[in-house]
Amino acid sequence: LAKTTQPISMDSYEGQEVNITCSHNNIATNDYITWYQQFPSQGPRFIIQGYKTKVTNEVASLFIPADRKSSTLSLPRVSLSDTAVYYCLVGDMYLAAGNKLTFGGGTRVLVKP
C-alpha cells in the first residue's frame, strides 16, 4: 500500500506557477499517479494522471522522475479560482483485492490577488 506525503498548504499569487510535490516511496509497478482538485462542499475533480515521465493537459502538467518515488503537479499561471485542496492519489485502478487506492492528506493551495 503506497503511502503518500504532500505539503499541508502553500500560498501563491495570481499569475504565478504553483508546483506541488507528492512523495510515494513505496509505489508499486502497477500503480498510477492521479491528482484531484477539491473545492469546499464539492466532490473531488480529476485533474491529471500519469505513470512515468511527463504528462500535460489543458489544465496542468505532471512530472514523474524515473524512480517514480515522487511526482510534481504544476499549475501554470494560477488564478484566484484555483484556490482549492489538491490530492495526490496513488494506486492500481484495478482493485482486485484490498485497499490499493490511497489519497494523500491533500495540499491546501491559497491563491492571493
Binding site: T34, Y94, L95, G98
Partner: protein, 117 residues
C-alpha cells in the same frame, strides 16, 4: 445531464439507527466507490465495486455494507450508526476497473453530509 447523484444531501441520524445512502450514475461506468472524508484525514475508501454483482472492502469498511445489483446503483448502508460515522460521504465511479495499462478517471458525486448523534 450525465453524472452521479447522491441522496440525501445531508442527514442527522440517531445512533443505532439504520441508514442507506443512495448513489446513482448514468454514465454506464463499471466501477463505483464509496469514500468518507473527515477533517484532516483526506478521503478514505470504504467499499468498491469493479462491476455489477461484485464488491470489495476498502481501507475502512467496518460498520458499512454495500450492494451492486446493477450498473447504475451502489447504495451504502450503515446497519447501526455510531457517532464516529459522522462524516461527508462521497460516491464515485470510473469507466473501467482498469489494469496496469489503463487510464482511469474517477467522477465524484456531490456528497452526503451525515451527522450521527
Amino acid at each position: 445531464i450525465a453524472g452521479i447523484t447522491q441522496a440525501p444531501t445531508s442527514q442527522i441520524l440517531a445512533a443505532g439507527r439504520r441508514m442507506t445512502l443512495r448513489c446513482t450514475q448514468d454514465m454506464r461506468h463499471n466501477a463505483m466507490y464509496w469514500y468518507r472524508q473527515d477533517l484532516g484525514l483526506g478521503l478514505r475508501l470504504i467499499h468498491y465495486s469493479n462491476t455489477a454483482g461484485t464488491t470489495g472492502k476498502g481501507e475502512v469498511p467496518d460498520g458499512y455494507s454495500v450492494s451492486r445489483a446493477n450498473t447504475d446503483d451502489f447504495p451504502l448502508t450503515l446497519a447501526s450508526a455510531v457517532p464516529s460515522q459522522t462524516s461527508v460521504y462521497f460516491c464515485a465511479s470510473s469507466p473501467t476497473s482498469g489494469g496496469p495499462s489503463s487510464y482511469n478517471e474517477q467522477f465524484f458525486g456531490p456528497g452526503t453530509r451525515l451527522t450521527v448523534l
